[in-house]
């Protein structure tokens, strides 16, 4: 696969404030990278540096193989939906896209064809001739995504694209995000503070906290690295509960097993490292129960979600 974003040691300082510090990341074509972080983590600043709106105070990067010293060329190869982007209410969706397509050098006729095609792609063709002032927030975000695609970019940056949208609007926008990577082969950098968006849509994740990247990799890598499962809640038949406790107590990785108070058949298990191993895999515990002929009615891990990894990483630094 081709690397389309390479950033090494990027820093951005505003006076005394260090907004981004030592950001290093690589993204391949077709990847969807979720940039996660709490408010003020530096996500928007990082996106603005990579999209050439802000100059880095330190570090180097390239986008689509073009070094950051040639920002005009980079802008020709990227599409961006900025955070809280505004829209000219008097223009129609079609006029808006045509205008931007023409700014990228398309002829009038091709700009029109491109605008209608993109509106169709994001499900706005039936509102193409309505003024943007009449669009809902979700429609505006989808229009913004369409605008980010007018130049057939190699990399698409979306900064909080689902901010303020209802669940249906979020679903539509995330569907568009996945389609960009899958059908166009473009890399997508999706900045968000919503963890489920990253779990649903991203192949890779970068977690930022106070301007520093605290984790980067595939979603599953980051989860397993940061927050391996430590506790589980499981349900067996009440008649099997005591037998399940004794079975689990004999499993190497299980540190503690106890009945959940007032809930017959419900058990809480704590996994721990033994003999210096990263012994937190629940597989042996589940296998032991099955081997003992105990019917497992439910099994739920705590600490196996991106949210747990995120909290651990952002609270620890």
């Amino acid at each position: 696969m081709t690397l389309v974003v390479e950033a090494h040691g990027i820093a951005k300082r505003f006076g005394q404030l260090l907004a981004v510090e030592d950001l290093t990341v690589e993204v391949q074509a077709g990847d969807v990278l979720g940039i996660l972080g709490p408010n003020g983590a530096g996500k928007t600043t990082a996106v603005r540096v990579l999209t050439t709106i802000l100059k880095p105070s330190r570090g180097t990067f390239s986008v689509a193989g073009i070094p950051h010293s040639r920002p005009d060329e980079i802008r020709r190869r990227i599409g961006v939906l900025p955070e809280s982007a505004g829209y000219p209410g008097v223009q129609t969706g079609e006029q808006y896209l045509q205008y931007h397509a023409r700014l990228y050098g398309r002829s009038r006729a091709h700009a029109r064809a491109s605008a209608r095609s993109l509106l169709d792609e994001v499900g706005l063709l039936d509102r193409s001739r309505s003024p943007i002032a009449t669009y809902s927030r979700g429609m505006r975000q989808r229009l913004g995504i369409a605008r980010a695609l007018v130049n057939e970019p190699a990399v698409v940056f979306l900064d909080e694209p689902t901010l303020g949208l209802d669940p249906a609007g979020q679903k539509q926008v995330l569907g568009n995000v996945r389609a960009i990577a899958r059908e166009r082969g473009a890399a997508v950098l999706l900045s968000t503070h919503l963890l489920h968006e990253v779990e649903q849509s991203c192949s890779h994740v970068l977690i930022l906290n106070r301007g520093r990247n605290v984790a980067v990799g595939t979603v599953s890598d980051v989860i397993s690295r940061a927050a391996a499962p430590r506790r589980a809640r499981l349900q067996v038949g009440p008649e099997d509960a005591d037998r399940a406790v004794s079975t689990l107590a004999s499993v190497r990785e299980v540190e503690l097993v106890e009945h959940a108070e007032g809930q017959p058949g419900s058990l809480t298990v704590r996994f721990g490292a033994r003999n210096g191993e990263q012994g937190s895999s629940p597989n042996d515990a589940v296998r032991a129960l099955v081997d003992a002929g105990i019917a497992l009615l439910s099994f739920e891990l705590d600490g196996a979600r991106l949210g747990d990894a995120f909290l651990e990483m952002t609270e620890a630094t």
Binding site: F14, G15, R48, T51, T52, I53, L54, D72, R75, R76, I78, V80, P82, S84, A85, G86, Y87, P88, V90, Q91, Q95, Y99, H100, A101, R102, L103, Y104, G105, R106, S107, A109, H110, A111, A113, S114, S117, L118, D120, E121, G144, R147, N151, E152
Partner: protein, 269 residues
């Protein structure tokens, strides 16, 4: 879709005509320019009515009534260009639309040139509104053509100067309110010398003050040609300040934009 886009090979032609076309459409079909022109027409109607009645009552010479109307038209028409140019960048900042423009390959200079030319359309419209009033007030004394010509030249120079000034303020301003406040303050300061008693303009210092100020020099030139009946060549020196100011600021605005136009107002720290 890809097929449609693949055919349209990007070209590197100047982008300012695209910006100009879009800005003109937004200004005129969006209604903002029409409202400003309507307000201008009402003001000019009131002024024309007052000078016409004063002329009928022999309080004003016919030439004076044309000169006064023209001076008001030039002042207010160039003010309209200033207002629209002032909104050009800080307004985009406030509406959150500047970032998407800065993210396109459009150069910042071309963005400013397109917007500046669109702002000047307000002055051209104001002049078109003024022409019938000048014709009505000036017919019979043979000054209509000269009055329209001098009004167009001076008004265009002042509109270019003031619109570029508004654009420069807008480039560094974080809010439209600040842009408009500062622009109006500068405009009033430029017009202030025209309120001095005529005796104050007679000394060398007074004349210098009027001559180096493009606004007062331009208005003075209109008075000399229309009211006093001088020839253009006789008083051409009064056009030096408006010409210098128009050229200087029209060149400065795109140059400064190329260097300093950024997402937030002010200067990057």
């Amino acid at each position: 879709m890809s097929a449609a886009q693949a055919d349209g090979k990007p070209r590197r032609a100047p982008s300012w005509p695209i910006v100009l076309e879009r800005e003109l459409r937004d200004l005129w079909t969006g209604g903002r320019a029409l409202v400003l022109c309507l307000a201008f027409s009402l003001l000019l109607s009131a002024i024309a009515y007052l000078v016409a009645t004063n002329t009928d009552l022999n309080f004003l010479e016919q030439r004076e009534s044309v000169g006064l109307t023209l001076q008001v038209s030039v002042a207010v028409g160039s003010l309209l260009a200033l207002l629209v140019a002032g909104d050009a960048i800080s307004g985009e900042r406030e509406r959150g639309t500047l970032e998407t423009l800065l993210l396109t390959p459009l150069s910042r200079r071309q963005l400013v040139v397109g917007k500046l030319l669109a702002a000047l359309s307000l002055w051209l419209a104001a002049f078109a509104v003024t022409a019938p009033y000048v014709w009505k007030l000036g017919r019979g004394v043979g000054i209509v053509v000269d009055a329209l010509a001098v009004g167009f030249v001076v008004g265009t120079l002042l509109a270019v100067f003031l619109a570029s000034l508004g654009m420069l303020i807008s480039l560094f301003s974080g809010s439209n309110r600040f842009t408009l406040s500062l622009s109006l303050f500068v405009l009033l300061a430029l017009f202030a010398p025209s309120q001095l008693p005529s005796s104050a303009e007679k000394g060398w210092a007074g004349e210098l003050l009027v001559r180096i100020n493009p606004v007062t020099a331009g208005e003075h030139f209109i008075g000399r040609i229309v009211v006093n009946g001088h020839s253009w060549s006789e008083d051409i020196s009064w056009l030096v300040a408006p010409v210098v100011a128009a050229v200087l600021f029209a060149v400065l605005a795109p140059l400064v934009a190329g260097r300093f136009l950024q997402l937030r107002g002010g200067v990057e720290g």
